[in-house]
């Protein structure tokens, strides 16, 4: 999942962005509204987390620009303004969620995850394809009841393949969702991750392959070829 995070206070931005990355999100952090808008116009994001009071371009104005561009990326407003009218104004202007500082990091991460699920047909946190089961909240993966240990990045890539099960997911989509400004679509980072996931979920080849390569197109996750 790729998240745009716009916050002007550097220590907070740095800390939260790191926590999101450690939780498996690809994070682009911007320090003001104009930088946030630039990133938003040039990349695809699953969720945008915006501080309200930003230099140059405040969070509400940025969100209006996002909505004007007919992009329905879920937006979470993050602000120190906790008055009822502020929250109402934020939600009325198009935000999907609103969090008042100070917040708990775990709650922020859960909310971002919940918002990111809205873009998929199955918004549940437990995904199943055949005997493969992924719990995105508990961060657990089981194949035929056997627990599989994946890294945060592997889990994030598997989640999007599970959510789009049966359809081809291109390398650029995976790249955009999980790698911050890598700009290297031809690199083999994604292949390495896919290979590692394949190996782990096949329980060392004891179970049939579920992730299949479509040459020139991308990858598809399905029970049988």
């Amino acid at each position: 999942m790729r998240v745009l995070y716009v916050e002007d206070a550097f220590p907070l931005r740095d800390t939260v962005a790191l926590a999101l990355r450690k939780s498996g999100f690809a994070v682009d952090a911007a320090e003001d509204g104009s930088e946030g808008l630039f990133l938003f116009e040039n990349y695809q994001y699953d969720v945008a987390v915006l501080d309200v009071m930003l230099p140059k371009f405040d969070g509400l104005a940025l969100m209006k620009e996002i909505r004007r561009a007919e992009r329905y990326t879920p937006v979470l407003l993050l602000t120190a303004k906790g008055e009822l009218e502020d929250r109402v104004a934020g939600l009325d202007s198009g935000a999907d969620d609103y969090m008042v500082k100070p917040f708990a990091l775990d709650e922020l991460i859960s909310r971002i995850r919940a918002l990111s699920r809205r873009g998929f047909k199955n918004p549940s946190s437990v995904l199943r394809v055949s005997d493969l089961e992924v719990d995105t909240s508990a961060k657990t993966v089981r194949r035929a009841g056997v627990a599989v240990k994946l890294s945060a990045h592997e889990l994030a890539v598997l989640e999007i393949l599970m959510r789009k099960a049966g359809t081809v997911v291109s390398r650029s989509v995976i790249d955009q969702h999980f790698y911050e400004n890598s700009g290297l679509p031809m690199s083999n980072v994604i292949d390495v991750v896919i290979c590692s996931i394949r190996k782990k979920i096949s329980l060392n080849r004891s179970k049939p392959e579920m992730i299949h390569t479509r040459r020139g197109l991308g990858y598809v996750l399905q029970a049988e070829q």
Partner: protein, 472 residues
């Protein structure tokens, strides 16, 4: 606490009750007197006539012809006369064996004006009938003593039943009382209605005032709709509401700004702690520096607020005035900001006289200068000049001016408000919007005056500080 309405109604009804009682009694009493007078006049005439006939020994024939009721005693008609020895001389046949007591007549006469020719009094008939008696008095008061009018004069008493008169008077009393009660009830209702109508505006005002709370302090009383007696009150209330509302807005803005200033570093600290607890491998020197920076930011805000609070409450001990070299203090404060000034390519121009010295609280003066120079260095346009001058002898003591193009002149009044910031995003962690509030508080404590001007044409903001002068 009683309501004004019930208080006024009760008072009015009490007063009206007294007036109605007096009026009713007056009516009844005047009617009683009139009826008694008519009643007595008739007997007076008969009594005088009887005396005449007794004196002329023509009584018997006259009684039979003119007053046959004395023969039967109908309706209590009787007469009786006494001689000089107070013995009964003659009496009507209707009395039979019975006779009236001379003592009753004498008692009535002695209670009256002794010069009166007639005595009127109530007495009982032989059969217990209530009677009204009128007697001619055969005495006159001359030279300080009573004398019989003439040797042949007699005291003659004529009586008549007053049963009908008493019944009429009772009926009159009942009528007057009934009318009074009815009128009182009607008046009470009218009074209550009138008072209610009269107090309608007051009640409306009270209901409106009761409905006012913190959520609707913008409510105002419409003065033109109110009676003139209430207009000064409503004007005063509107004025108070305006002040309370602006106070609430100020407090709310202050709380909101303070919350914002505090919440961001708190969030940073909390997030850093959570991050390091969850992923201890991320503990780095840089992370610790960030935590320290956020803690320092919070400390700065809290220290500034506590400083302001202690000055305002008067709990901060003031230091004594001492001789201060103004130029030296300014130079030291500029040096503290020189790194930022160099980064922003600011030029420093100081035209203070080296010999300029003042007597003031050195701590407060240093705080003022430090804040003003820090603000100038932080907010002046890059590549511009910060000028420090003493323009007019000792008044103002100090003038600091700098160019600032991105400034709205209408914001001058907000500059000394707590947490007001030119940067609406409040991104700058060095300043928190308390600098000029502190300068103003210091100046007030020193008995000085802070003046801020903005020259729109040159985009120059000038802050002057010095002792309060006449005309400031």
């Amino acid at each position: 606490m009683k309501s004004i309405e019930s208080h006024i109604v009760r008072r009015l009804l009490f007063g009206q009750g007294i007036l109605w009682t007096i009026a009713a009694f007056s009516v009844w009493y005047s009617q009683r007197e009139r009826l008694y007078s008519e009643f007595d006049n008739n007997q007076k005439f008969v009594s005088a006539a009887l005396r005449f006939h007794i004196r002329n020994s023509t009584l018997e024939g006259e009684v039979r012809n003119r007053w046959p009721r004395f023969l039967t005693g109908d309706e209590g008609w009787h007469f009786q006369s006494w001689d000089e020895e107070q013995n009964v001389q003659v009496k009507s046949e209707g009395l039979g064996e019975a006779e009236f007591s001379y003592a009753d007549f004498e008692r009535a006469w002695s209670n009256k004006d002794k010069t009166a020719e007639y005595v009127k009094f109530n007495l009982k008939g032989p059969d217990g009938e209530p009677l009204r008696g009128v007697a001619t008095v055969a005495r006159s008061f001359r030279n300080g003593q009573f004398r019989r009018s003439s040797s042949r004069a007699r005291d003659v008493l004529v009586t008549r039943s007053r049963r009908e008169l008493d019944a009429n008077l009772l009926w009159l009393a009942v009528f007057v009382f009934g009318t009074g009660v009815g009128a009182s009830l009607a008046t009470a209702k009218l009074v209550k209605h009138a008072v209610r109508q009269g107090l309608f505006s007051l009640r409306q005002m009270s209901e409106k005032a009761q409905a006012i709370d913190v959520s609707n302090l913008d409510v105002r009383f419409e003065e033109s709709d109110l009676p003139i007696e209430l207009q000064p009150i409503s004007r005063r209330l509107n004025d108070l509401l305006r002040r309370i509302e602006s106070g609430f807005i100020r407090e709310r803005r202050f709380s909101s700004d303070l919350a914002h200033e505090i919440r961001t570093p708190i969030t940073g600290l909390k997030s850093a702690a959570e991050l390091l607890l969850k992923w201890p491998e991320e503990t780095t020197l840089e992370r610790h520096e960030q935590i320290l920076e956020m803690a320092n930011q919070m400390e700065g805000i809290i220290e500034s607020l506590l400083m302001l609070a202690s000055w305002e409450s008067g709990t901060s001990p003031g230091s004594r005035n001492e001789r201060i070299e103004v130029g030296e203090v300014v130079k030291q404060c500029w040096e503290n900001e020189s790194a930022l000034a160099a980064k922003r390519n600011l030029e420093y121009s100081c035209s203070l006289s080296d010999s300029l010295e003042i007597d003031a609280d050195s701590n407060l003066f240093r705080l003022i200068v430090a804040n003003l120079i820090s603000n100038a260095v932080s907010y002046a346009d890059e590549n511009s000049v910060v000028r420090v001058a003493n323009t007019d002898g000792l008044h103002p003591v100090l003038t600091i001016s700098n160019s600032i193009r991105q400034f709205d002149e209408s914001e001058i009044a907000n500059l000394t408000k707590r947490f007001w910031r030119a940067d609406k995003s409040r991104s700058d962690s060095i300043h928190c919007g308390l600098g000029l509030s502190i300068v103003e508080a210091c100046a007030t404590r020193m008995g000085w005056n802070l003046k801020i001007d903005y020259e729109t044409n040159d985009s120059v903001l000038t802050v002057s500080i010095g002792p309060v002068q006449a005309g400031d």
